[in-house]
Symmetry: C2
Subunit: 462 residues, 2 copies
């Protein structure tokens, strides 16, 4: 029989990986709670009509679609089959699809529950999403997104609050030197307005998105190809360079954007945010204005964020987000400005791993194991285990009286810090022998002292 | 535009529901850890060949299948399409399927990672599974299973340990009076051997499975229909009745099963388990032997469990499990006896809800909200919020200076226990006014005292 394998782009997680992943998730979750967010969860799949048509043709291709249950051919068209009209046919034989992100299901949730939620509605959502993308380093077909959103208020206090939230998450992960980049979509709209290329907005966004990876000379070539004039390209690059030092170049930027209403608005929003952070400086991360930041997601309309790891780490963005004014409109609910951010767990994991910042004591939660010397001690081992457990000590017994060497081997391989010996001598004396697997030190202790020792050691480790 | 709706049998969870669900999950997870289990996770979908052919034709029908990405028709057969040969065609156009349970993926995991795990391998897995079942009370198409398994040892100490684990989970949930029913599949095999109806084993299992819901007269009719003789049916019912009081009827049962090797073996296993629990009585749940317990899952080969809620609660089993000797054999790895149990979160939730045992203080984790009286205070509110957060207090500010009434309304609707007033007076004095939303009592406190008060109140609530 062939050894079983996993679907492309998916992973099993063992305990050691999960304890480390959960450490990161817990930091994010705790911070969301600190900032007044409460959790919601939505189903893994949605009705096809909820997801399809929301992510552009590229996104649509990446959505996993679920075959109808029962007679999946009942609405299928023979012509579609014969002509290999995949789009038409697939819409007839599938009726559900796996979540592609958490944002569209969130919008669906808000609209569907609009009478039960109170505005502004703050929620976090930590769940898997699925994309049929080509797998590569840090990119999988099933991955966890950690999102927080506030919907129903356009107060800029929230933009500031989310930057504080980024600061706290990365500080709590002991990850310093991250670069929180911000921009405002309004400024990009204004640039197209000022230089009379409104029709080329998406092309500009598209090129700016590549600025991190592609040389400026090539971006210039691409923009020329897209019929941007040389002088306009120079002006755009000039604006981007000015934005790097906002406090110094505030006036120059004000003048550039003064002819555009939306541009002035966008700039004054940035100014409001910077005025807070010039008084209350970030100590762990850096806050950088960058008019070159575009974030190619359609629904952003205001301030946008992107967090990059410290400069020497060559991994893409580890968090992002922005304000969107019309997200719930796709489901018929207008005028709900929202702002949201998302942490990418896999990327953060890679960064922490590369910087050796993942706590490595988290391999097992088991504190001790009772070795098994004879079937005669079965009930005693169970009873001692239960005694320890009722004292909040995680422990197990070895289930079979095999060779001590193999039992110690098991304890070692599983990184269990203490083994406990219980044989004839111990049964008679009522005391137990405990061995510290790291130091090799052995002690003979009464059950009470054993419990005290294990409790202390577990507290020291946490 | 039509209001969006959810796929059949799926649910959104709001914060209040999630905090209660997580309370149950945390008890189960903590207990798994206490008993020395560590977590693993597997992908939500598996390759089609991993899942198909493992659950019988009924189960196969209920598996959600995922359409191939890209040209899903590339291997499809026109004849299959024209003849509506659904099984053939679906195997050509799909290549993945959503997890139907956690057991088959676990077996796949063990076989695939056999060189990295140490035997006995103890794991827990708390993840969603999906079944295209007809939805009804407590039955959904996406639901959470909480499984723990040990594989690689046939020691009966584990059967006892799992019963202790059931006892601890339900005690920690303050749910007393649950009935842990146990039986041994070996005894059912022996019955068919003794009464010479080995060919009718599955039919017997099938009928016994209905004993909880169907009258004995009807079971008798069904068994007669399946060609069981009247005298055999009488004997089987007699054995089942004897099993109800194991300690009293031990000798009678021993005699009945004495002619069957597998029967004697099965009975002595039960005797071993009862001998432990007659010395170490359960105090929270009841342990009942019931030879009528069958659990219609194919892979069980030894002791089986089923936990029912207290007698007055009309909800089916809330947990179950059993020993299986050949599970990993489906992926080519022989001789790995295992035993596992599973908790059904939705059913446990319903039972606790019906008995009013769900903690109801868990509606929000936000402790306090700063009311917003003017844009002039924006930065102060953000700073005070961050001060509280750095003292481990979950809080938020209202983002817009709308009417106090509407802001208080928001606090009320979200069950936030404290609101904090910060206006001109407070800004001048440096003290803040805090209002307890339950008692209505207001106090004016320095920031230090405010923090102390909120810290104390959050500790009292937990």
């Amino acid at each position: 029989m062939k050894k079983p394998i996993l679907p492309k782009g998916t992973r099993d997680f063992n305990s050691s990986e999960l304890y480390k992943r959960n450490y990161i998730i817990d930091v994010i979750k705790d911070t969301f709670s600190k900032f007044g967010f409460n959790p919601i969860e939505t189903p893994s799949f949605e009705r096809a009509e909820t997801l399809l048509g929301k992510y552009g043709s590229e996104g649509e291709r990446l959505i996993f679609k679920i075959l109808k249950s029962g007679n999946f051919l009942k609405d299928a068209d023979t012509t579609d089959f014969n002509n290999k009209n995949l789009t038409n046919l697939s819409r007839k034989i599938i009726d559900k699809a796996l979540r592609y992100d958490l944002t569209v299901p969130f919008a669906r949730y808000v609209v569907q529950n609009q009478n039960d939620i109170s505005i502004p509605f703050k929620r976090y959502q930590i769940q898997n999403v699925w994309r049929a993308d080509r797998p590569q380093k840090g990119r999988f077909r099933e991955f966890l997104q950690c999102d927080a959103d506030v919907i129903g208020s356009n107060s800029l206090m929230q933009e500031i609050d989310f930057i504080c939230l980024f600061e706290k998450v990365f500080a709590d992960l002991n990850l310093s030197g991250c670069r929180i980049k911000i921009n405002n979509r309004k400024l990009l709209v204004a640039i197209c307005e000022i230089y009379n290329c409104q029709d080329k907005f998406l092309s500009l966004i598209n090129q700016l998105d590549k600025m991190d990876k592609v040389d400026r000379i090539d971006i210039r070539k691409n923009l020329l190809n897209d019929n941007f004039e040389t002088s306009v390209i120079d002006s755009i690059f000039n604006i981007i360079d000015l934005s790097v030092d906002f406090n110094k170049n505030k006036d120059a930027l004000s003048e550039i954007f003064s002819s555009s209403k939306i541009g002035s608005e966008g700039l004054s929003e940035i100014e409001f945010i910077f005025s807070y952070f010039s008084e209350n400086k970030l100590t762990n991360s850096k806050l950088d204005f960058d008019i070159g930041l575009a974030r190619g997601i359609d629904y952003y309309t205001g301030v946008i964020f992107e967090v990059l790891p410290p400069e020497n780490i060559l991994i893409g963005s580890i968090a992002g987000g922005g304000r969107y004014d019309n997200l719930t409109e796709i489901f018929g609910l207008k005028n709900m400005s929202g702002i949201g951010i998302s942490f990418g767990l896999d990327r953060i994991y890679l960064v922490l791993q590369e910087m050796d910042l993942l706590p490595n004591y988290l391999d097992t939660s088991t504190q001790a194991i009772f070795l098994n010397f004879s079937k005669d001690f079965s009930f005693d081992l169970i009873n001692f285990s239960n005694l320890l457990r009722s004292n909040n000590i995680n422990c197990e017994f070895f289930p079979d009286p095999i060779s001590v060497k193999r039992q110690l081997n098991y304890a070692n391989k599983n990184n269990i810090p203490y083994v406990i010996f219980y044989g004839d001598e111990e049964k008679e004396s009522g005391s137990l022998k405990i061995k510290d697997m790291k130091t090799g030190i052995q002690q003979i202790l009464t059950p009470e002292k054993l419990i005290k020792k294990l409790k202390n050691s577990s507290e020291n480790e946490i």
